[in-house]
């Protein structure tokens, strides 16, 4: 049985890699949790693509401001040092490479860094992309935060994505419940394995050859 860390532990693990001063966009869903684990006392600037830098935590009850929301349409607050801007300026920031880190969820990540996270390609589903494709190319480093396997046990780190792509060759690192993997020109390289997980075990779970840690 392999070691799996909880979603919150994984959020904390991602958070620990974000340096002071970084400008970071946390995608909708699990990545949003990362905000709760950013080191106290360090200044990290959160971007929300609906038009704000310097996003703060959720407001106190009774102080919800419908004009002040994040990309998930949840109420947030503004820190000292915040700035507002319109949508074209906001996505220009991402597209222009001015964010340091985006953290995103994924259905699949390929060994060449392709990301699939916007559509399962299920017939009859209403397609919706939002900012997914912009976020995928929207930072110097694009981190994916995901389980290693689907609930059905299928690998989410794959040789080639079978789901519709969100972006090509855009992912730099994948944080999973089993370990952390860098995307290199030669494929996935193990960065860290949680608990007693071994290189061979993870390769077997994925059916993929992984580059040894530190290699």
């Amino acid at each position: 049985m392999t070691t799996r860390v909880s979603r919150t532990a994984l959020a904390a693990r991602v958070a620990s890699d974000i340096p002071e001063g970084a400008v970071v966009n946390l995608g909708i869903g699990a990545p949003t949790l990362v905000a709760d684990y950013l080191p106290e006392g360090l200044e990290i600037v959160l971007h929300t693509e609906n038009g704000m830098l310097g996003m703060g935590p959720a407001p106190a009850e009774g102080s919800v401001d419908p004009d002040l929301i994040n990309a998930g349409k949840q109420p947030v607050t503004a820190l000292a040092g915040a700035a507002y801007f319109h949508h074209a300026d906001s996505f220009a920031m991402m597209r222009g490479g001015h964010l340091d880190v985006c953290v995103l969820g994924a259905f699949q990540v390929s060994a060449s860094g392709d990301l699939a996270n916007w559509s399962t390609g299920e017939p009859g589903a209403i397609p919706a992309v939002g900012g997914a494709m912009d976020l995928a190319i929207g930072a110097k480093d694009v981190y994916v935060m995901t389980d290693l396997l689907t609930k059905q046990g299928a690998p989410k780190l794959v040789e080639t994505c079978t789901y519709p792509l969100t972006g090509v060759g855009c992912v730099s690192r994948v944080y999973t419940d089993h370990g952390v993997f860098d995307v290199t020109p030669d494929g996935f390289r193990v960065r860290e394995l949680f608990g007693d997980n071994t290189h061979a075990e993870i390769e077997e779970l994925l059916g993929l050859t992984l580059i040894e840690r530190g290699a």
């Binding site: 038009g51 009774g62 419908p66 004009d67 507002y84 220009a92 991402m94 209403i126 494709m133 969100t166």
Partner: protein, 248 residues
């Protein structure tokens, strides 16, 4: 004297023709010009193409416009939300067309329309289904897709304050698509909390200069503000909170 103020929302939307392309501001509910949308429903223009980031929430605002059967096509980035049941039903019944655009390309295409740009190469969407059939090009080692502007006949947006020249300031993340839609439409109609005397807006802080605006209509301060100060007391949809011991 230049005076772009109009007395009410009905007058503000009275000339919107059937078949128009209408940009509607807002991201979810923030910045959605609900009173103008209601006026458009009352006005009854049909066969509209609507540009918005989403495709309506709940049963009000844009969702109500869809429900009224006035919209032929949506151009948006994210039509599927937990409370987008009106759009969902129409789409599944084949009663509405959908053009899905990545959010940043949507914003940049709207910006391009206002800025007189004929087309632009964007990296967003390259290699994906949403770029299928589109022209691509490798420039300086990066792959791009050619995207074209989205023009509109009318933009309906909301802002915090206007003056009679149509200069606008917004509030927080309700700014979102307002400034770029105002520039991309032939006619731009704005609902604001209040219209202030000319000269009251700081020229350093005007976000949408008046030349982009055709009509402004004051709809009164929103519930969570009082004399321009945030007073809270609402939920995320702007509904008053039940107070302890009060008969809410």
């Amino acid at each position: 004297m230049i005076d772009k103020t109009v007395p009410d929302v009905a007058a503000a939307v009275a000339d919107i023709a059937d078949g128009s392309t209408v940009m509607i501001g807002g991201f979810g509910r923030a910045g959605q010009p609900v009173e103008l949308i209601d006026a458009l429903i009352a006005h009854g223009a049909r066969d509209l193409t609507v540009v918005n980031n989403n495709a309506g929430n709940g049963d009000t605002g844009l969702a109500a416009l869809l429900k009224a059967g006035q919209v032929r096509k949506m151009i948006c980035s994210f039509p599927r939300q937990s409370d987008s049941w009106v759009f969902d039903g129409l789409y599944r019944d084949g009663k509405i067309e959908l053009e899905l655009v990545p959010q940043g390309n949507l914003a940049e295409r709207i910006r391009a329309a206002g800025a007189g740009i004929g087309g632009f190469f964007t990296p967003t969407g390259f290699g994906t289904q949403l770029a299928e059939g589109k022209e691509t090009r490798r420039i300086d080692g990066r792959d791009y897709v050619l995207e074209y502007p989205i023009h509109a006949d009318v933009a309906l947006i909301s802002a915090r304050r206007a003056d009679r020249w149509g200069n606008l300031v917004y509030r927080e993340t309700a700014r979102n698509f307002g400034p770029i839609m105002a520039a991309a439409a032939k006619t731009t109609v704005v609902q604001v909390d209040e219209i202030v005397p000319l000269g009251d807006l700081d020229p350093e802080a005007v976000i949408t200069p008046g030349l982009y605006v055709d009509r402004v209509v004051a709809v009164g301060e929103r519930r969570w503000l009082h004399d321009g100060v945030f007073v809270g007391g609402v939920d995320i949809e702007g509904r008053p909170l039940a107070r302890n011991g009060a008969d809410a």
